[in-house]
């Protein structure tokens, strides 16, 4: 079946893509110097990660099906009413139902939506319609949409080189809608019809949509900073010494300010060091459970991965192993973003220093482990008035008298939003 029938919404002349000669050259991101603190001073610059081709080379991305699926027991009348109530023009609904593309399968009834129906949805209608689609679990791009965080397609494209014309990107922006977390995109199959019919091009587009902003971070010891204080910070007062040899070697006591900066990866415990800037290998999954933000955060100081953190046990551990703390935060502190109403945790990450965190934004294999500012993470997961941030420290890093705390008022459950891509 030929999946792609170009809609000619974008003139072909603009779609001469060369995957070798990139259309836009991105400037190198500037070096940012952070605040001086007990950690020393961090300098950072942004990098943009995309998953490797091998992770995208599957039919969902290379030959994305442009279909809408409904529960198998829905007849044409019911589908028609549903689509009309969703805001699709009656003429388009009729066109879809009369097109002869409706098919009945064991687990779904599917039809080929018209491009006009998809294009004409406003963002609110799109969000509502796709929220319904996502409940049934049979519309893969609505169940697990591309999660763009605070970005749209154009701003993601602007982060680094890419081969897509400006017009195509502006067109793609029309299909971004607000969801949880933040901006989402489900109309990947339709957008692929606007691209040259080549697998390599679709993979390139999927990778662009899956871009993650990350920071490359290095430590400096400015003049006047106490090297001892810095050591204490990164070793949690000597309780975690694995990074101390490299720290001591990089910054000689006589003139640490003159030493070149040290990549922060040297100061991370073994597991985050192993994972940083990588994508989750399939081998880490247990059945349908994949390493997510909770697994990552709870494993931060572990010598070996504990797969018990694939279970939703954050609530059990708060108050027993992890104790609430106030600022100033310390290296490795567990940051939870919780829903105000239910108390459910929607995201977890670990504090590093100077408001930078180690985070995995999603359980998808297509989301890497990275370092980001906490503000970037909050932009993705937190809405003012609906979420709050709470910080916890592992009991072994607390003075003995404060290592126990009253149990939280409400149990906190892992409630990661439905699978963004």
């Amino acid at each position: 079946m030929k999946m792609f029938r170009r809609l000619a919404l974008i003139p072909r002349s603009l779609l001469c893509l060369s995957l070798v000669a990139f259309a836009t050259a991105a400037n190198a991101s500037p070096l940012q110097l952070g605040k001086v603190g007990p950690w020393g001073q961090l300098e950072s610059y942004e990098i943009v990660l995309e998953p490797a081709d091998q992770l995208i080379r599957e039919p969902l991305y290379t030959y994305p099906p442009l279909i809408w699926a409904f529960p198998p027991d829905w007849d044409l009348e019911r589908i028609g009413h549903f689509l009309t109530r969703s805001g699709i023009a009656p003429a388009e609904v009729a066109a879809m139902l009369e097109s002869g593309t409706v098919k009945h399968h064991v687990n779904a009834t599917t039809l080929l939506p018209t491009a006009r129906a998809i294009i004409d949805l406003n963002p609110q209608q799109r969000a509502a319609l796709y929220a319904e689609f996502s409940k049934w679990g049979i519309n893969p791009f609505q169940t697990a949409p591309f999660s763009l965080g605070g970005d749209n397609v154009s701003s993601l494209a602007a982060l680094a080189t890419h081969p897509f014309p400006e017009d195509f990107l502006k067109f793609a922006d029309k299909f971004v809608f607000e969801g949880s977390p933040r901006n989402l995109l489900s109309d990947y199959p339709l957008l692929c019809t606007e691209l040259p019919d080549e697998v390599a091009v679709r993979i390139r587009f999927a990778k662009l949509l899956l871009r993650s902003r990350a920071l490359m971070v290095r430590l400096r010891i400015p003049e006047g900073t106490s090297l001892d204080e810095v050591r204490k910070y990164w070793t949690l007062d000597g309780k975690i010494e694995s990074s101390l040899p490299a720290l001591n070697a990089a910054f000689p006591t006589d003139d640490p300010a003159a030493a070149p900066p040290l990549d922060l990866v040297h100061l991370l415990p073994p597991l985050p060091r192993q994972l940083l800037y990588t994508y989750s290998p399939v081998a880490l999954a247990v059945g349908e459970f994949r390493p997510d933000c909770f697994w990552s955060s709870l494993n931060f100081f572990e010598e070996d991965f504990s797969q018990r953190y694939l279970d939703p046990i954050v609530g059990e551990l708060l108050g027993s192993e992890w104790i609430p703390v106030e600022k100033p935060y310390r290296f490795g502190d567990l940051i939870l973003i919780k829903e105000l109403r239910s108390g459910d945790a929607v995201h977890a990450c670990n504090y590093l220093a100077d408001d930078l965190v180690f985070t995995k934004n999603g359980k998808s294999f297509l989301r890497p482990w990275l370092i980001q500012p906490i503000s970037e993470v909050e932009k993705t997961y937190s809405v003012d008035g609906f979420h709050q941030t709470a910080v916890y420290r592992h009991r072994r890093f607390l003075p003995r008298q404060s290592s126990s705390a009253p149990a939280p008022d409400e149990p906190t459950r892992n409630a990661e939003p439905p699978l963004p891509r």
Binding site: A28, A214, E241, P245, A246, V265, T278, D304
Partner: protein, 385 residues
């Protein structure tokens, strides 16, 4: 075990030229030398902070037997007589020892020191002799010069005179004689750290042109055994003119988590600790495999590996073997790129995992005319074996 295949026709390595064939493109690598010292927690033992100057013998030995021992080690009667009048210490159930004076220790000739200490080292109850500080082909002065330290030149010079050889290795066993008189525990620990220095390298890959990206990614992907690094390399290719990439980001997960660290206490399995063979075998494993610490696992077991010619690739195993008897393996490590290796030089917890130059590794294990290098690759990755 395929050792006969392994060692029947090893490629002869000229110690001055490791890799004469055209090199694959691993990018432009810059290195900065530095010196790693063990953290205080690993030296928090009386052995280091409160050393005892003691020469011990089996419990049942009497003066006659001890005298005979000294004569065989080349010591004269005056020395023996004086020694046997020194303070005698009994370690119940273990050994009987005498405390030589510092002067007695310092006055030993090189030959006497080598003979005596080698023989004292046959017993574990002489810890400084059975497990001396090792410097490979370097002297103690070379180790001191690696990085700044607080010890006077004369002190280092005097300690250097006490270095002797076991085979071709330079070793030092007079820690107690030199560290004992130091003013406090901190000073003694600083001295121990100096003796335990390891020279290694931070390394980074300079920015590369887009045209080189495919070749560089191909090298570091290591024939699809190291695909984790593809995203970071692609990010570097996209971000034109950005800063170098720390090479640690290009290593497979296990070496990435270990490099420039010391083994934690829980790394032991029974009495066995991760050594160079454990390290070399675990280079590409997604999770640490402790089978390489099994008592049934032979360190020399490289079944399924074949000897190879240059150019070498990420993860290739380098063996330092006896020239006359190649089945005697002294060391194993992994090739990284540009003659950098990932290595753990010893079983001890006070020997870290490091990135070193091949030359630095050879300074510890390689002896011209007595040893040679063999490079190995998994047979499924060897073209035209």
């Amino acid at each position: 075990m395929a050792t006969s295949v392994l060692f029947s026709a090893p490629p002869e390595e000229d110690s001055d030229s490791v890799d004469p064939a055209p090199k694959p493109n691993w990018g432009k690598i810059e290195t900065t030398q530095f010196v790693l010292e063990p953290p205080d927690e690993l030296l928090d033992e009386p052995l280091y902070y409160a050393p005892s100057l003691l020469w011990a013998f089996p419990l049942e030995w009497d003066s006659e037997k001890i005298s005979h021992f000294f004569r065989e080690s080349g010591l004269d009667e005056d020395f023996i007589e004086k020694f046997l009048t020194q303070e005698r210490i009994l370690k119940p159930g273990v050994a009987v020892g005498y405390v030589p004076t510092r002067e007695m220790v310092l006055q030993l000739s090189n030959r006497q020191r080598e003979a005596l200490y080698t023989r004292l080292g046959q017993w574990d109850f002489n810890p400084y002799h059975s497990n001396p500080f090792e410097f490979g082909t370097m002297r103690l002065t070379d180790v001191a010069e690696m990085a700044p330290h607080a010890f006077p030149k004369e002190f280092i010079s005097q300690a250097d005179k006490l270095v002797y050889q076991i085979g071709r290795k330079h070793v030092f066993a007079d820690y107690a004689a030199m560290a004992g008189p130091l003013p406090d525990e901190l000073a003694r620990l600083d001295f121990a750290k100096l003796l335990l220095r390891t020279r290694c390298h931070f390394a980074r890959m300079n920015p590369f042109a887009n045209e080189e990206a495919a070749e560089i990614i191909r090298y570091w992907s290591a024939r699809n055994r190291n695909l984790d690094v593809v995203p970071i390399l692609e990010a570097a290719a996209r971000s034109k003119g950005r800063d170098p990439i720390n090479l640690i980001h290009l290593l497979p997960p296990i070496p990435r988590s270990l490099v420039f660290t010391f083994p934690p206490p829980q790394s032991m399995v029974g009495t066995k600790r991760p050594d160079c063979f454990w390290t070399a075998h675990n280079f590409f494993t997604p999770e640490i495999s402790q089978r390489y610490l099994d008592v049934t696992f032979e360190d020399s077991d490289f079944e399924g590996w074949l000897p190879i010619e240059p150019p070498y690739e990420l993860g290739d195993v380098i063996l330092v073997v006896d020239q006359a008897n190649p089945e005697k393996i002294y060391h194993a490590c992994n090739y990284v790129a540009d003659d950098l290796v990932f290595t753990k030089n010893g079983t001890s917890r006070i020997r870290p995992w490091v990135l070193q130059t091949l030359d630095d590794m050879k300074s510890v294990y390689f002896r011209e005319g007595e040893t040679k290098l063999i490079f190995l690759r998994r047979e499924e990755f060897v073209e035209n074996p």
